[in-house]
Amino acid sequence: MTGMQGVFLFAAGLILWAAFMMVTRQNLVHAAFYLILALFGVAILFVLLDAGFLAVIQVSVYIGAISIMMIFAVMLTRGDVIEEDPVNKNYGWALLLAALFAFGLIILVGQWPAIASLPGAFDTSRDLAAELGVALFSPEGFVIPSEVASVLLLAALVGSLVVARRQKGK
């Protein structure tokens, strides 16, 4: 087992353990911290995949912004921080469906011939962030998707302000 594989197995174990703890915790603040742990494991995987810039975005956007917003929401909806029963009455079906889905996906993945392929050589001196910036804003690249994404962000910003604003007289 090489060092890379060791790091991968550590990150994979961390992600799966943290994700499992997240969906089973009663206390939502604990669940939010386990979510942060799982997201950090995904950032480790991005580094292993030579996508350092995405790892930085993962830490700054997911851990720095999204998880903090989750914790804010938990605090603002304080009444239900600790539930007596974290799952609804259909959790048996949910468990069955998730297990079937995992089983089916792993069977499907196992049948695919390219499954054992190994990564090719990678030029680590490439400036991926610059390449990504050019691709996102060049007309031959992804300028329309990235503009749509920025409109989506603006709409989400305005929409969440309108939805969460305190109504007059209430």
Partner: protein, 102 residues
Amino acid sequence: MIPLSWYLILAALLFCIGLYGVLARKNAVAILMSVELMLNAVNINLVAFWRYFTPGNISGHAFAVIVFVVAAAEVAVGLALIISIYRRRKTVAADEINLMKW
């Protein structure tokens, strides 16, 4: 060297844990957290396919960045809705928010 299958199986398991969380959790904030897990599983797949098959082409990164943007927008709107519902109904349990249930 790590075979591609390791990443795909890890992403499949992570996606299914998230799926279980979405279907089984009662609290709406916990459901949103589980959706984040599912989006992360998709992102692992996108970046792994980029690295193993088309490392010369930056499209895999662009897809992953779009997923980040959509996740941020989804969380902002979702949490605003949850806070608004909590203000009116004093609950965030998904099975008690049944105003529009047929």
